[in-house]
């Protein structure tokens, strides 16, 4: 029965997933000038060097709008305990400096208690800041960055709070670390990149939504992507990828659920057949008290005796 229900669901989800076109492009390794290839960290942490890097991506199949743009990080422990708790939700909603105890070590700017950081904490401090410009030839393709965060985040979790004393990509000692700066005039509930970033990922390999391209991309289009590669994943060998993906009614490219449904469904049908077969071969009528262990024993005794 499970099989009958599950297999169609599985097939449908697989079909939906297959219709999704997904392009994954790794760029952390190629967007490094050759002379810095042995010292990537120094490159990424220098404030002066140009971090721009142009990559070309060919669209294999027609991509119907909206095309979602994601960045994908690897070996990045957004779920580390020290990291997860290093935020103040009260502050994110209401501002102020109460309840920032958990934000250590990014509680006050440069350790100065008179300069409380808003938004405080490691999560905000380590905000991702690579940017992508897409061009079809020379035509710029605009990326819509509104609506990439959850409505509940915009409306309930983040308030009309302006950033203050944000370390802007410096560490406690004032060293450039390769993270983002915040615009002091943009309140937190407008900064959707921050909101996306602060919904910490469950696994060390994660994607986050960057924006939407709201035009169809024809097959074989060659996209030029100007990547502003400034986020430091080099110190911990994290990979960075750019992902373009369409969605179906179900969501993005996700074969897993479909496969799982198919597997469970077919397993159950298979087992039903096995059971049926075994039952036909070795028939035991239901509720036959001759099969009670003590009755069986008696029968065996009877057989051996006779």
């Amino acid at each position: 029965m499970v099989g009958v229900i599950f297999i169609p669901i599985g097939i449908l989800s697989l079909l939906a997933s297959n219709r999704v076109v997904e392009i994954v492009h790794r760029y952390d390794d190629v967007c490094i000038p050759a002379k810095y290839s042995t010292d990537k960290v120094r490159f990424i942490q220098s404030a002066d060097l140009s971090k721009n890097c142009t990559q070309t991506i060919t669209i294999p199949r027609h991509m119907k709008q909206p095309v979602y743009v994601y960045y994908e990080l690897d070996n990045y422990y957004q779920n580390h305990r020290r990291y997860v708790k290093s935020r103040s939700d009260t502050q994110l909603q209401n501002g102020g400096v109460s309840n920032t105890q958990n934000c250590k070590p990014e509680q006050n700017l440069l350790g100065n208690a008179s300069l409380p950081i808003i938004p405080c904490g490691l999560i905000a401090w380590s905000l991702f800041n690579d940017t992508y410009d897409f061009r079809d030839g020379t035509t710029k393709i605009s990326v819509n960055k509104t609506g990439i965060s959850w409505k509940s985040d915009r409306e309930h979790k983040f308030g009309n709070v302006k950033p203050e004393n944000f370390p802007n990509n410096l560490n406690e000692s004032g060293v450039w670390i390769g993270g983002a700066s915040l615009d002091v005039n943009k309140s937190l509930n407008e900064d959707e990149d921050l909101m996306v970033w602060m919904r910490t990922a469950a696994l060390p390999n994660f994607r986050k939504l960057y924006g939407r391209i709201e035009t169809d991309l024809q097959a074989n289009t060659v996209l030029n992507v100007i990547i502003h590669n400034q986020y430091n994943t080099y110190s911990f060998d994290g990979k960075k990828r750019l992902v373009l993906s369409t969605t179906s009614w179900l969501g993005g490219k996700n074969d897993f659920l479909g496969i799982a449904y198919l597997a469970v469904g077919s397993l159950s049908i298979f087992l039903a057949l096995v059971f049926l077969g075994a039952h036909l071969k070795n028939r035991r009528s239901l509720g036959d008290i001759n099969y009670l262990s003590w009755n069986k024993k008696q029968q065996q005794n009877g057989n051996t005796r006779s």
Binding site: N79, R82, V84, R87, A201, T247, L250, K253, W294
Partner: protein, 951 residues
Amino acid sequence: MMNAMNVPSKRSTLERRLDMLILILFSILFIMCFIDSICSGIFINRKYWYLGLTSDVEDQFNPGNRFLVACLTFLTFVTLFSPIIPISLYVSIEMIKVFQVTQFINKDVKMYHKETNTPALARTSNLNEELGQVEYIFSDKTGTLTRNLMEFFKCSIGGVIYGKGVTEIEKAAARRNGTGIEEMESPAESHEKYFNFDDDRLMRGAWRNEPNPELCKEFFRCLAVCHTVLPEGDELPEKIVYQAASPDEAALVTAAKMFGFFFFRRTPTSIRVRESHVEKIGRMQDVEYEILNVLEFNSTRKRQSVICRYPNGRLVLYCKGADSVIYERLMERHNPFKDTNRDHLEYFGAAGLRTLCLAYRDLDINAYEMWNEKFVQAKSALRDREKKLDEVAELIEKDLILIGSTAIEDKLQEGVPVCIETLAKGGIKIWVLTGDKLETAINIAYACSLMNNGMKQFIINSDTKEIRDVEDRGDALETAQVIERYVAERLNESLRQAVESEQTQTGLELALVIDGRCLMYALDPELRGTLLKLSVMCKAVVCCRVSPLQKAQVTSMIKDGAKKITLSIGDGANDVSMIQAAHIGVGISGLEGMQAVMASDFAIAQFRFLTDLLLVHGRLSYLRISKVVAYFFYKNLMFTLTQFWFNLYTGFSGQRFYDDWFQSLYNVVFTALPVIIVGIFDKDVSITNSRKYPQLYKAGIENIFFRWRILIIWAISAVYQSVILFFFPIKAIEEGKNSSGRMLGLWDAGTMAFTCVVVTVNLRLFLACNFITRWHLISIFGSILAWFIFAFFYSGFRNPLDKQGNIYQVIFVIMGTWYFWYAIVLVPVASLALDFLHEGMRRWFAPYDYHIIQEEEKIKGVERDELLLVESPRQAPEQSLELTGLHGEMSKHTGYSFDSPCFDSFFASQEGVSMSQRSYDIARRASMRVSRRQSSDLGSDSPPPGHNSLI
């Protein structure tokens, strides 16, 4: 009470095993914490710049001191993984047990004794499930198996059996064979105490029309004359009270009265009997028999004779005694029905009746005078008087003419044989530990269908000629040595034979009978092992003449030696030590005071209630508790493992996968109630079938439902499910975007996984329980609903519980995605698939017995059998049996018994000494000196009068 042992506090073996389980869980906890903390020490590194590890880092994450990191993280992990220890398990089990006790055991109508208005009483709630695993029952005899009430039941006169009654054992035998069952209304209820006999051929003078009226007359006269009973009270048949040394005697004299030979007065030299119907129907006359000599009963002679002179001068010796001694002394000729009578004796014996043979001899006056001289001499002898008296008695007790035999029923408690048989079918071995004599004990063993003639019996008895001879020499040390040697020999020999018969697989059942004195030596450390081995092989063990202390020793021997679960049942103060020694003590709450009940764990009114207590309540409690424990084990292990998997992906940082409150409420709210409901209501087969198939009980003895194997299966299932429950939800959202392309985060995954966990764990119960009531449905779906309601409230608005605001709005976000609904259908199905598969295979290909009975119930339908609604116990219709039904399995056992521990000294005690109260202390003290001959008589259930001097 100086002799009282410390009252041991009892815990069930299952609970002790549970402690082991908790220890295992602790070790799993520590292993997991250890692995993770070591890894966390290795993981932590400044290269993860976003963790802010460069300066001002607390010790727990300071890469400068990895060892300290590991240590501190270890503590974090202990708190994180602590839900693996099911703290609420103990509370839940306690609740379940208390409920079982107060609502089921104490209120079971089937265990309510109407006559005495006594319900069953569980005095502790610790041992419910132990009741489901009992393998050995040690039972006291008097007051427990029997009512200590003798009734004249049948007789055989001149080769004709009289008496229509059917003993319990015959009923049981008939049921076994399924033959000769004929409905018949129960015999007249209004019979006299000591007398349960009905046969129109003998009553009200009808015996005159029988083939042997003369012999009948002799029979009745023998009953009326040959005894040592004292009449008390008015000399009217209705009001007279017989003071007898043993209830057997009283029964015989009462029988004579009922037959119309009313013994009403005793003078030192005569007995007066009011005889009816002798000359003519309806005529009554008082006859005085002059008693010339009384040749008293003792345990060596096993007979008693009275020489009396009729008013007409006829001189007769009446003798009654064990068949063996009477048959030796019969006249060669003139005993035409000797053989028929022997058949009858065997029949009586097999029916569990106590038999006596009656015989007489007409004496020639001259011969008598000559003999009497010798008798007087012997009587006045100063040395060895008893021995001489015995010798003299031999001279005259010969050339007897057999009259017939009596059969007295040692009235068993209601339903005892059936109960014992049922329990035996359930794999329970029943030992009778009694202070009574060997013969009595064996008799009772027969009467309660413990033993039968098909069994090979090993009798180890100190009362042999050899030992007696040694004893007579009076050297205590030598006696001890001889007995010890004898016991050792017998034990080894028996064991050898037992092993032999086991190997040859003759299917012969074994029985061991041992008396208290031999037991004393057999319990010595050297012989203990042999005794244990032998007794474990035996189907029935009877220990007679044992002291209360020995009862406890035997119990402990099995408990500690064989590591089996024991139950002791008794009613009197002398059973207290045994009750305390066993795993479970059951007291019969009834007549013999409260000591036994006070020492017991359960009190029931009748022995037969043991069937219900064990087979229904014990079995179900065991089943339920083991299920509950296994389930708790599974659900906590599974829950914690999901967190463990998660932490492999968090850099071993000890990050929670679920919110704090989810984790705390998991055991207390979201999964607590259903398992308690299962613990209270689950039952595998209906109660009727629990009784019908006592073999189901074997599962408990073999501990089938709480073996390590079962737990390992649960553990495997827990591991499998935890993998599914962690990876499926997290995979589902890992790459997923819902249709607006947004990504889900850590807390979304955690909440989703937690939802799946709650649903799965609750649905798992459906697979685990056999029996679904609306309470199950309410509690299971209620728990799932409770989770959703909680989640809605908790994430619905900012609240102080969720300090970090992690879960704020999360549930609405995830419920707005397809993935959530996908996962919630898929994940529980996928995780339960393995269990479903296992259960299915089990049921299909290797079904447990209860599976089959469940199927049978399903097909045939179950009669409604709610525990508490049962009407008062139905009286089984009496059945009459054909006598031939039992003839087939007869052999040597004839059931002789004449129970009176101190018959010899009865008359001595009559002068001025009132009956001593049955007192615990007497028995106790007596037991201390059980090695001495005198007191070995005393270590019995009924300390006789006349030994007050000992105290």
